[in-house]
C-alpha cells in the first residue's frame, strides 16, 4: 500500500527532475513550440512543492488534487490545464483513503490520462504528452520502472511523428524530426514515480 508520504515523495522527485531538466524542456519547445515548456513546469512544480509543504494534505487523493489545482492555477499554457487535470482527476478517483494500492493508483492514473485525452482532444500518435503518458500508464501493470521506461520510449517515439495537436501542429511536416517537449516531461513524471516507488521498497 502507498501512503500520503509516497505521493509527497513522487511530487518532490518530479519537481527535482523538472528543475534539473527545465532548460532542456524549453530547448525542445523552441523548434516546434514557443520556448516555454521548461519554465512553465518549473513555475508549476515549485508552486506545488510550496503548497504541499505549507499545508500538507492528509491523503493521497487530497494530495494529488492539491497538486493538480496548483498546476492549473500557476502554469497556464497548454500543459497547465492538462497536467493539472491529470493529477486532479486521479486524485478524485483515489477518494479519501489514507493508503492506496498499486492497483488503485494505476486505475486512477488511467482515469487521469483519459481526462487528458478528452480535454485536449488528442489521440495516440498526435505527438503530444499522451504518447508518453499512454504507454507509460499502461506499463504500470508490469512495474513502476517498466512504466518509466515505456514513457521514456514513448517520448523518443514522438521524434518521427508529425504533430496534429498543440502549437507544433502549426508547423505541419516541419514538426517531424523533433521530440515533443510535453511527452518528454511526462517521462520525467513517470520516472519520478518509479524513483519514489523504488525508495519505498
Amino acid at each position: 500500500m502507498r501512503d500520503t508520504q509516497f505521493f509527497r515523495r513522487w511530487m518532490a522527485a518530479t519537481a527535482a527532475a523538472v528543475e534539473r531538466e527545465a532548460a532542456r524542456l524549453t530547448e525542445l519547445d523552441s523548434p516546434i513550440g514557443d520556448a516555454d515548456h521548461g519554465s512553465n513546469l518549473l513555475r508549476g512544480f515549485t508552486a506545488v512543492e510550496s503548497a504541499l509543504t505549507s499545508d500538507p494534505p492528509t491523503s493521497p487523493g487530497a494530495l494529488l488534487q492539491v497538486a493538480g489545482r496548483t498546476l492549473i492555477s500557476t502554469v497556464g499554457g497548454a500543459s497547465g490545464p492538462l497536467y493539472g487535470t491529470l493529477l486532479r482527476r486521479a486524485g478524485k478517483e483515489l477518494g479519501d483513503s489514507t493508503e492506496v494500492s498499486d492497483e488503485q493508483l494505476r486505475a486512477a492514473l488511467r482515469t487521469g490520462v483519459d481526462a487528458v485525452a478528452q480535454l485536449g482532444g488528442a489521440a495516440p500518435g498526435d505527438k503530444t504528452m499522451l504518447d508518453a503518458l499512454g504507454p507509460g500508464v499502461a506499463a504500470l501493470a508490469t512495474s513502476y520502472r517498466a512504466a518509466a521506461d515505456a514513457a521514456e520510449h514513448g517520448a523518443l517515439a514522438t521524434v518521427p511523428m508529425q504533430a496534429r495537436k498543440g502549437r507544433a501542429s502549426y508547423l505541419g511536416e516541419r514538426s517531424i524530426g523533433h521530440q515533443d517537449p510535453g511527452a518528454t516531461s511526462s517521462a520525467l513524471l513517470l520516472g519520478a514515480l518509479a524513483d519514489a516507488a523504488e525508495g519505498d521498497a
Partner: protein, 334 residues
C-alpha cells in the same frame, strides 16, 4: 541576447508595475495579473475580457479602456494566463450584463478560458466566449489545432468594445465579435526570430538571406522558408492567401478594414513603406480600404517582421470601428 529587464522571472510583474505607474486611470492588480478599467462594475454594460501570453504588447492590456476591453489578463511570456486570472477579471468587470471572453485560438488559451468560464459561471456571472482564428497560414482541419488568432483580435476587441460601450446586450456583442472574426483573415512574415526572456536566445535560426512565411505570434517558425524578398513582393505573397480565403467566404467587393502590423522590432519607417505596397496591391485588385491602421499592435517580442489583416466591413462595423476609444495604445474620437 540582452534585454531591458531585471530578470526573466519578474518580467511580467515588472511590466505591470510600470503600466500602473504610467496609467493611473487603470486598475492594475500586479499580484493577481489583471488589468481593468475602473468604471466597469455596476455600469450595466457588457464586460469584455481578453488575455493571453505576454510578449504581444500592446495587446491586450494596452487596449483596456472606454470603447474597448474592460479587462485583460496577461500570462507569462507566450504562456496563456491561468483560469484564476480570467475569473478574477470577470468578477471585477461584470456590470450586471454578463461578460464576453475574447480568446485567441491556441490550445492553452482555449482550455484556460474554458476553465475560467466554468469558474465565473459558478460565481453567477453570465459568460460568453468568442474564439479568434484568423491566421490563414494554418490549415483549419482536424489534423491541426486550427487557425491561430492573430491580428483580427484587435478588430474584434475594438468593435465588440464599441458595441458594449453603447450598451448592447451580451448576445449581440458576442454575435458581432464572431462576425468580425469570421470576416477577418491574416498572414504573417518574420525577418528574424524573437528571443524569450526564459530562453535568452532566438527561438529559431533564420539566416541572413531568408525569411519565414506564415509565422504566428509566439516565435514559432512559419510554414515555409524562402529567400529574402523586397517589400513589394512580401506584400503580394502575404495578401495572396488572405484574399483567397476571404473570397472563399464571399466576394470582397465592399469596404475592408486593414491592419498592417509590425512584429515588434520593425521600424515604423519600414512598416509605412510596406503599407504603401500593401495599399498598392489592394488597389490593383480592386479592394477598397475603408480604414487602415499601421503600427506595432500585435507583436512577438523583438521579432522583425509584419503581418497583414483584412476584415470585410459594412456600415455597422465601420461605425463601431470609428466610435471613440480611449486606451493606452489606441485612441481616437472624444
Amino acid at each position: 541576447m540582452k534585454m531591458l529587464i531585471n530578470s526573466p522571472e519578474t518580467v511580467v510583474a515588472d511590466a505591470l508595475r510600470g503600466l500602473a505607474a504610467a496609467h493611473p486611470e487603470l486598475d492594475v492588480d500586479v499580484e493577481g495579473r489583471v488589468v481593468t478599467r475602473r468604471d466597469a462594475r455596476g455600469s450595466g454594460r457588457v464586460g469584455l475580457v481578453s488575455g493571453g501570453g505576454s510578449g504581444h504588447e500592446p495587446l491586450h492590456a494596452g487596449f483596456v479602456g472606454p470603447g474597448m476591453l474592460s479587462g485583460a489578463c496577461p500570462g507569462e511570456v507566450f504562456t496563456s494566463p491561468v483560469p484564476d486570472q480570467m475569473s478574477r477579471a470577470a468578477a471585477a468587470v461584470d456590470g450586471g450584463a454578463g461578460v464576453l471572453f475574447v480568446v485567441k485560438n491556441y490550445t492553452g488559451d482555449v482550455m484556460n478560458f474554458e476553465m475560467a468560464a466554468e469558474l465565473a459561471g459558478e460565481d453567477g456571472i453570465q459568460v460568453e466566449q468568442v474564439l479568434v482564428n484568423d491566421d490563414v497560414a494554418v490549415t483549419d482541419s482536424l489534423y491541426t489545432a486550427g487557425r491561430r488568432g492573430t491580428g483580427a483580435t484587435l478588430f474584434v476587441e475594438k468593435i465588440a468594445g464599441a458595441a458594449a460601450e453603447e450598451g448592447r446586450p451580451l448576445d449581440q456583442v458576442a454575435a458581432l465579435a464572431r462576425r468580425v472574426n469570421e470576416s477577418s483573415r491574416s498572414f504573417g512574415v518574420a525577418l528574424s526570430a524573437c528571443t524569450t526572456p526564459a530562453k535568452g536566445s532566438p527561438t529559431f535560426d533564420l539566416p541572413d538571406g531568408e525569411l519565414e512565411l506564415g509565422i504566428g505570434i509566439h516565435g514559432e517558425p512559419g510554414r515555409e522558408r524562402r529567400p529574402m524578398m523586397p517589400a513589394r513582393e512580401i506584400a503580394e505573397v502575404s495578401l495572396g492567401p488572405v484574399l483567397e480565403e476571404l473570397a472563399d467566404i464571399g466576394p470582397v467587393d465592399g469596404p475592408v478594414l486593414l491592419l498592417v502590423n509590425g512584429m515588434g522590432a520593425t521600424p515604423l519607417l519600414e512598416l509605412y513603406g510596406f503599407h504603401g505596397e500593401v495599399a498598392r496591391v489592394l488597389a490593383d485588385r480592386g479592394v477598397t480600404v475603408a480604414r487602415a491602421l499601421v503600427g506595432n499592435y500585435v507583436t512577438s517580442l523583438d521579432m522583425a517582421g509584419c503581418s497583414v489583416t483584412l476584415c470585410r466591413a459594412d456600415e455597422e462595423l465601420l461605425r463601431l470601428w470609428d466610435a471613440p476609444v480611449q486606451t493606452a495604445a489606441l485612441r481616437w474620437g472624444r
